[in-house]
Symmetry: C2
Subunit: 146 residues, 2 copies
DNA sequence: CTAATCACGACTAAAACAGTAGGAATTAAA
DNA sequence: TTTAATTCCTACTGTTTTAGTCGTGATTAG
């Protein structure tokens, strides 16, 4: 039950893009710049951004002085959208996904109640939180970590 | 970001045990009986239950007519406790775990805020929900599934 | 022309997952 | 005392997923 690096790094990249947009409208960010900021290799970021582009979350311009930018304003992209590109469906088990086949125990299963509740609580967080909100977040040294 | 079968099947087994406890106080359940109810192989259940025992969540008696029972009343065991045995720590990323090493970006990382929020929302659900609550849950045919 | 940049598909090593297998120890009951 | 049912322990193994890398091609500003 861990986020893969795909999801984590995708989010890093998107937040980096959101922070650019915060400062200069229409600013582009190249992969090599993103690699510096995020600590992820150029090669791997390249791959992740390809997926994010396919999902319609970023736009690119090619050639020298090219790069990436958000396809929509940062306040219109949710963390959930980004994570789903990296991770696939975010339900904790397949049997409660709308597109997954339900298991044969479905009708008598008391436990799906658990997965439903977990799923809802995750979605409540990530579907409400936008990149803008994350980008403007300043880490607080004093906050308790777990 | 999916529960492994370890976590899923462990929970099935524990709920089966809780349902026994609901009916007859002090009833034991053998692995072969559990296998029928849960749809998991005897061999694999055996392995999972060993971990649950090591974690102090079930008790056993060996020999013929032996079996397993909950080590504590069903209302005193949370879903979170069970899942943690199967899955390990349930935080979505290692860097926010109290026992995981924080990543080197920690101080400047705006994204830990996301993981914190997700983590809290998951724990709010699974640490409050007891086996008793799950065992008494009747699946509702009419509830919307996602 | 050239250097910087994105684009695409194939490939791979390592780890995690999902079990299985063999056999030993214990105990109730015949 | 034998037998059958049961838990206990240690390995082992095939498959899938993860976490990348690599080579090469296409595009474009200067």
């Amino acid at each position: 039950m861990k986020m893969s690096t795909k999801g984590q790094y995708s989010l890093r990249a998107m937040v980096a893009l959101a922070q650019v947009q915060q400062n200069q409208e229409e600013g582009m960010l190249s992969i090599s710049q993103m690699a510096k900021q995020t600590g992820v290799t150029v090669r791997y970021l390249e791959k992740l951004l390809r997926s994010l582009k396919a999902a319609g979350l970023v736009e690119t311009t090619r050639g020298a002085a090219g790069g990436y930018r958000l396809a929509k304003p940062a306040e219109c992209i949710t963390v959930g959208q980004v994570l789903q590109v990296g991770e696939g469906r975010l339900e904790p088990v397949e049997c409660i996904q709308s597109d997954g086949r339900p298991c044969d125990r479905k009708k008598s299963c008391a436990i799906q109640y658990v997965w439903q509740r977990i799923s809802e609580s995750i979605h409540q967080v990530i579907d409400e939180m936008t990149l803008k909100e994350v980008a403007s977040q300043t880490p607080d040294e004093n906050q308790s970590v777990i």
